[in-house]
């Protein structure tokens, strides 16, 4: 059992957890993730390690409630326990001194991009962050990013805060206004990552995305997380999760993530029904 030391909502439906996990805290590097099981009988789901503290022996995860398991997790509070946490999984991000690095996060993707932005800054890059959200309340971690990045640009789809428009429009504006961008990291919903890949492709800017297929074990044992990159099958949990955005088959990823759509709906309805009965 893994103790939740602290929990708070960062945005509607997006919650931050600080969890006691000494081994993982010591080991983890930017870009890696854990797999958790909220309770006995629960599903194993992957979540990125957003931060860690060596003094407190803790890791931080930031979770968006999208289905049964993430919503159940988001109903837990400080002092509660999580049944299983395993990691750190996946390859750490490839960090080097690129020059100017832009890290783009869409929605909860910002949580996944955050530790990588920190590492990019530490490697001496001029680090720019674009933080996208549907509206103001969905722009997360802006203050944290401001502490480490050289430039931070919030964007909202509805214009309620920061730049009015998509993260890709802001990125294009930066490039076209003469900023020499050497590296782009984009993490968020699949359509957003696809759009960023298409934005940077004509400029030949090295672009990396972090893929989010459905996983089971996270150790390369089941092959459920397979994706196609550069026309080859990869197991995202061990070969990734980060890949060259210009070579990823995003439609396949979208298609495979739809495998359990009806079942997920069913599980969620059952869960919400039970939650409502409790109130």
């Amino acid at each position: 059992m893994y103790k939740i030391k602290h929990a708070e909502f960062l945005a509607p439906n997006i919650k931050k957890f600080i969890i006691e996990a000494p081994k993982i805290a010591q080991k983890r590097r930017a870009g890696q993730f854990v797999i958790i099981r909220v309770k006995d009988g629960g599903e194993r789901i992957p979540l990125t390690i957003a931060d860690s503290s060596l003094e407190d022996n803790t890791i931080t995860i930031i979770v968006q409630g999208v289905g049964k398991t993430t919503k159940e997790l988001n109903s837990l509070s400080s002092g509660d326990f999580i049944q299983d946490v395993v990691g750190p999984l996946g390859k750490p991000s490839h960090i080097e001194h690129f020059g100017t690095a832009v890290s783009i996060g869409g929605g909860v993707g910002t949580a996944i991009a955050y530790p990588i932005a920190v590492a990019l800054k530490q490697a001496g890059n001029h680090t720019i962050s674009i933080v996208g959200g549907r509206s103001k309340e969905f722009v997360i971690l802006e203050d944290e990013l401001k502490k480490v990045c050289d430039e931070v640009y919030p964007t909202t789809d509805d214009g309620s805060y920061g730049f009015h428009g998509f993260v890709t429009q802001k990125l294009k504006e930066l490039i076209d206004s003469g900023t020499k961008v050497d590296f782009v990291l984009a993490i968020g919903p699949i359509p957003m990552m696809k759009a960023v890949a298409e934005t940077t492709r004509p400029y030949g800017i090295k672009t990396v995305v972090s893929l989010n297929p459905i996983m089971v074990d996270g150790t390369g044992m089941c092959g459920g997380c397979r994706a196609t990159v550069d026309n080859k099958t990869v197991f995202v949990c061990v070969d990734g999760p980060e890949f060259d955005a210009h070579k990823v088959d995003f439609s396949l990823l979208e298609q495979r993530n739809r495998t359990y759509r009806t079942d997920e709906q069913l599980a969620l309805e059952k869960h919400e029904c039970r939650m409502n009965n409790l109130h």
Binding site: P88, G220, R258
Partner: protein
């Protein structure tokens, strides 16, 4: 039972294993075989003619003293029989159920020459179940603590048997397991209807009582590396991580929704209990009234196809590229699968999966014929020109074997591996090329059997004990 003459005893027919009705069981996950009653067990035991030089034992990879334990069964001393088996086999309730007995102990039983061999596996299972259900698994004596610590990586049959021996020898033992449950393939691969998980649980509980420390959620290589285990105070390491890398067919369409590796399909159903979805949270492809094809012919393929049947598949096929005689699965599994309505398409090879909107709809098959024997001695299947044809399927499971998972190799490069990524280990001591590190089970042999993995675990325990008492191993 009164004394019977040898001649009379030889007239007793081989006792049938009571089993669940095939129609009923094809829609539930309860165990198929129900096990002998005491009467059946003693009757079967009486069939053994107590050979002065029993050939049966030579057929058992770990040399179980079969004649002696069967004699104890015939006398009704089942607990003594259990103890006798355990001198050589740490997991009789498991092996009695899943060993390919017809190729091992039973294949060389003298009675098999003229009629039917003694049901050794069934007796082994009976004895182990009797012990577990009556007195509980007996906890043996543990020697005085030696102060030495051993780390075991992986909790399949190799890891569990090694842990059991080492703890009795007085060493401190920690078992590190990547998954959230202990048991390896016994819990995530072999289904409930063939090996109830309660049996594995009872074995694990017995080991916990003896003092074995189980650490789940610990992936050695990631959570700690092998070298870090040594710096954390372990004196020796036994690597028993199994063969956990699924092979795919590498044909077009393999990433369509509805195409699974057997590892994923079975893990979702067994470990994650998807057959109880939505009571349990993990889903699996809804097989109800669908056509399911499983590619391969081994135990894994049989487990997958019988699982699909139980999940409600309308049609469940085994598609295998050689002929039926070459099927590597245990005969009993093939027999049970057929009884349950599984259809076998042999001498057929898949060459493409075809989908619609991302979902699997058809497979393109090619007919095969048998040519010259290959390196394995089996006749090589050759494609028949122009024999391609389509078949409608909704779900496919690829069960063509496993390679070795590269996590340990990548993080501990100073152990010697062979070309296929298996760890090279000594036959007798299971030592590897790295001092203090031993290895056994599927990670050394490639996908094999429970009894071989168990045997390797015990050999390693013996050698580790010597190593820890400063005997020369390297």
């Amino acid at each position: 039972m009164e004394e019977m003459s040898k001649k009379d005893r030889m007239k007793i027919p081989r006792q049938k294993m009571p089993e669940q009705d095939s129609f009923e069981r094809s829609s539930n996950f309860d165990e198929v075989n129900l096990g002998f009653t005491e009467e059946l067990a003693r009757m079967e035991a009486l069939r053994c003619i107590q050979c002065p030089k029993p050939s049966c034992t030579t057929g058992c990879p770990v040399g179980v003293k079969i004649r002696d334990f069967i004699e104890l069964v015939s006398k009704g001393d089942y607990l003594a029989a259990a103890a006798k088996i355990k001198e050589d086999n740490a997991l009789p309730a498991v092996c009695g159920r899943v060993c390919p007995q017809e190729e091992q102990c039973e294949s060389v039983c003298i009675l098999g020459k003229k009629g039917e061999s003694v049901g050794i596996g069934r007796l082994e299972r009976f004895v182990a179940d009797y012990e577990r259900n009556t007195s509980g698994i007996r906890t043996p004596e543990v020697k005085a603590k030696t102060g030495k610590k051993v780390a075991i990586v992986g909790s399949g049959p190799a890891g569990l048997s090694c842990a059991g021996d080492l703890i009795q020898m007085g060493h401190d033992v920690t078992v590190f397991e990547a998954l959230h449950e202990i048991g390896g393939v016994l819990v995530y691969g072999i289904p409930q209807f063939r090996l109830p998980k309660e049996i594995v649980k009872a074995e694990v509980e017995a080991l916990t009582k003896l003092g074995v420390d189980f650490q789940t959620n610990s992936i050695i290589g990631f959570t700690d590396t092998v070298d870090e285990l040594f710096s954390n105070g372990y004196d020796a390491v036994f690597i028993a991580v199994g063969a956990g890398l699924p092979y795919f067919l590498n044909i077009p369409g393999e990433n369509l929704n509805g195409v699974y590796s057997s590892n994923e399909f079975l893990t979702r159903v067994n470990l994650m209990k998807a057959y109880k979805f939505p009571e349990y949270d993990t889903p699996v492809f809804n097989c109800k009234d669908k056509n399911v094809a499983v590619f391969g012919g081994g135990n894994t393929a049989m487990d997958a196809v019988r699982t699909a049947k139980r999940l409600g598949a309308k049609k469940a096929y085994i598609i295998y590229r050689r002929s039926e005689v070459e099927l590597p699965a245990r005969k009993e599994e093939v027999h049970h699968a057929k009884q349950e309505g599984v259809e076998f398409l042999v001498l057929e090879n898949p060459i493409e999966f075809i989908g619609e909107n991302g979902w699997l709809k058809q497979v393109k098959l090619q007919k095969m014929e048998l040519g010259e024997p290959d390196a394995s001695g089996r006749r090589r299947p050759v494609a028949v020109e122009g024999s391609e044809h389509l078949m409608d399927i909704d779900m496919a499971v690829v069960a063509i074997g496993n390679g070795s998972n590269p996590i340990i190799q990548k993080t501990t490069p100073d152990i010697e591996y062979n070309k296929r990524g298996n760890i090279v280990a000594d036959d007798i001591t299971m030592k590897t090329s790295k001092k203090g590190v031993f290895a056994g089970g599927d990670i050394v042999t490639g996908g094999a059997t429970v009894i071989l993995a168990m045997g390797a675990g015990r050999k390693a325990a013996k050698a580790i004990d010597s190593y820890l008492s400063n005997k020369e191993i390297w």
